[in-house]
Amino acid sequence: MPKQAKPDQQPDGCEDILMSLHDLALRFRGQTNDVIDRISLTVKRGEVLCVVGESGCGKSVTAMALMGLLPTEFAKISSGILGIQATRLDLSKVTMPTAMRGNDIAMIFQEPMTSLNPSFTIGNQIIEAILQHSAGSRTDAQARALHMLQRVGIANPEQRLSEFPHQLSGGMRQRVMIAMALANDPKILIADEPTTALDVTIQAQILDLIRDLSDETGMGTIMITHDLGVVAEIADTVAVMYGGQVVERGAVAEVFNDPQHPYTIGLMSAMPQLDKPGGKLATVPGTVPSVANMPEGCRFRTRCVFATQRCQVRPPLSNTTQGHDVACHYAPIEANLSVAL
């Protein structure tokens, strides 16, 4: 399916915002630096927000923190307000109640092979998820489960309901996971690298499916990925994370065509392109520092070719153009630097 960056009908329409996360910060026990350093995200109705970044930048931890799935003995959330429609949760004080999990906000995981309970049938698990959040009868739930399997494009849904996870392929299991996650009509779906473990053709099918369901139901989707190809395929908006901070966010076309943060620029130029002659790909020098060694201020400055004294102060995430925010003192970069990129 062709990517289409959907224009915002109501750029400032608050009622259109399904979920907002404000200033999430958390650290792992025994560490002195925040793993997630005050990040904010919003998701509008029908929007697919892709959170991209390399391994260890805090994408998955953010998702787990949102869902209240981080074990408290390992992680301490020091701030963060999660708003889902009218509900406000202070994540530093409360974890998401089980009544909301799976009902308002659902999550699918990276590994479809291990995300289903091997001891029970597919039908059993979907029905359990439905009955957890609705008062309906088991027969209704069964009908709903069947409907959900059809909706995610599984052939022979009646038969599949009575099968065990090991009898299904990886792609099918991921479809089942999606069916289960969407069975209660959540307002937000968090997909944590849902296609990483699948081969490319299945990958495209699953992405299409998520895109379609998002358009159809108006649910917001937060897609976590390290694959810029996936972003181009599915995203409306993208948030680029580095070292536990959001360094750039905006409409996908904006960010891809006119990246402003030096890290995003590095990522884009590191992507092989079919229409350009081959050769050495550009790289971002260095590696991500460990959490304990994160520099003060801009966390990218130790690897940034443009870094100066000024970067020891953390740059705010601010507008360069409408709907395109960058956390860099030198954005917009063309205007401030005469260095040829």
Binding site: M1, M67, L69, E73, T98, A99, M100, R101, G102, N103, A106, M107, I108, F109, Q110, E111, T114, S115, L116, N117, P118, S119, F120, E128, A129, Q132, H133, R151, V152, G153, I154, A155, N156, E163, F164, H166, Q167, L168, S169, G171, M172, R175, M177, M180, A181, Q205, D208, L209, D212, L213, E216
Partner: protein
């Protein structure tokens, strides 16, 4: 929706259904174990309907008679039929094995679940108690408990059950810690299932296979323990038959009537061997690494 349905693809149906059973059947020693265990269970269940004399009926005209057509396994020091006592004794032995292991599972598995799943102080308390119990040798602990509770088959079963409990606590705890980090547990929490449901539907069923194997092996240990307790007079009380107490009497007549010791000895050996082979076979058949 633009999405095309996946073509129905062949799935492993009939084959996977019987995977465990097939593997078990191809395991020769496991089958031998299974047959041995099945044999003893059968005669223990059938004891009341088998055409055998009353195990407590004495016959002063046939004291310590060697095996013959009238008494296939001979008679004991007060003329009781050894075959009949063997069969009724099988009931006591198997009952002791099964009941004591059931007690151990009923106490050990929930405690192991709690310790493994919740961790923290509950784990600390339960694990320290487990270690304290494990520090005492199994049989010594069982003897001490049985002596404390008073000699009877029921008390022997309780004593053996309690002595076997720490094995199950430790095993369950370890398995729970493994399973709790599985993705499907996270996904159950993401669906919004409450903790008790996660424990009963996502954790417990997936830690059962190793517990089942351990239970089979522990039944063998428990049967030996029951025989030992009865041998010492702390288990089944006379005149009710038990292999252990039969051995105890038989030791006084090893020269005159060796069959009195032979049959219970062989039976204990065979039934324990049977349960051990069965347990090993189950372990191989249920091992997920070999699937």
């Amino acid at each position: 929706m633009t999405n095309t349905a996946l073509a129905s693809e062949p799935v492993l149906t009939a084959k996977t259904e019987n995977r465990v059973w097939k593997k078990f059947r191809s395991h020769k020693s496991a089958m031998v174990g299974g047959v041995l265990v099945a044999f003893f269970i059968l005669i223990a269940i059938a004891a009341p309907i088998l055409p055998i004399p009353d195990p407590a009926a004495t016959d002063w005209g046939a004291v310590r008679k060697a095996p013959s057509l009238a008494h296939w396994m001979g008679t004991d020091e007060i003329g009781r039929d050894v075959l009949s006592r063997m069969i009724w004794g099988a009931q006591a032995s198997l009952l002791a094995g099964v009941v004591s292991v059931s007690i151990a599972i009923a106490i050990g598995v929930p405690l192991g679940l709690i310790a493994g799943f919740f961790g923290g102080w509950s784990d600390a308390v339960i694990s320290r108690c487990t270690e304290a119990l494990l520090a005492a040798p199994f049989l010594i602990l069982a003897i001490a408990l049985a002596a404390f509770l008073g000699p009877s088959l029921t008390n022997a079963m309780i004593a053996i059950g309690i002595s076997a409990t720490p094995i199950f606590i430790r095993l369950t705890r370890g398995e729970v810690i493994n399973v709790k980090s599985e993705d499907y547990v996270d996904s159950a929490r993401a669906i919004g299932l409450p903790t008790p449901r996660i424990l009963s539907r996502y954790i417990l069923p997936n830690v059962l296979p190793p517990i089942l194997v351990q239970a089979t092996l522990t039944i063998a240990t428990a049967i030996i323990a029951e025989a030992a307790l009865s041998f010492l007079g702390l288990g089944q009380q006379p005149p009710d038959p038990s292999w252990g107490s039969m051995l105890n009497t038989a030791k006084n007549f090893l020269n005159q009537a060796p069959w009195m010791a032979l049959w219970p000895g062989i039976s204990i050996f065979l039934v324990v061997l049977g349960f051990n082979l069965l347990g090993d076979g189950l372990r191989d058949a249920l091992d997920p690494r070999e699937h």
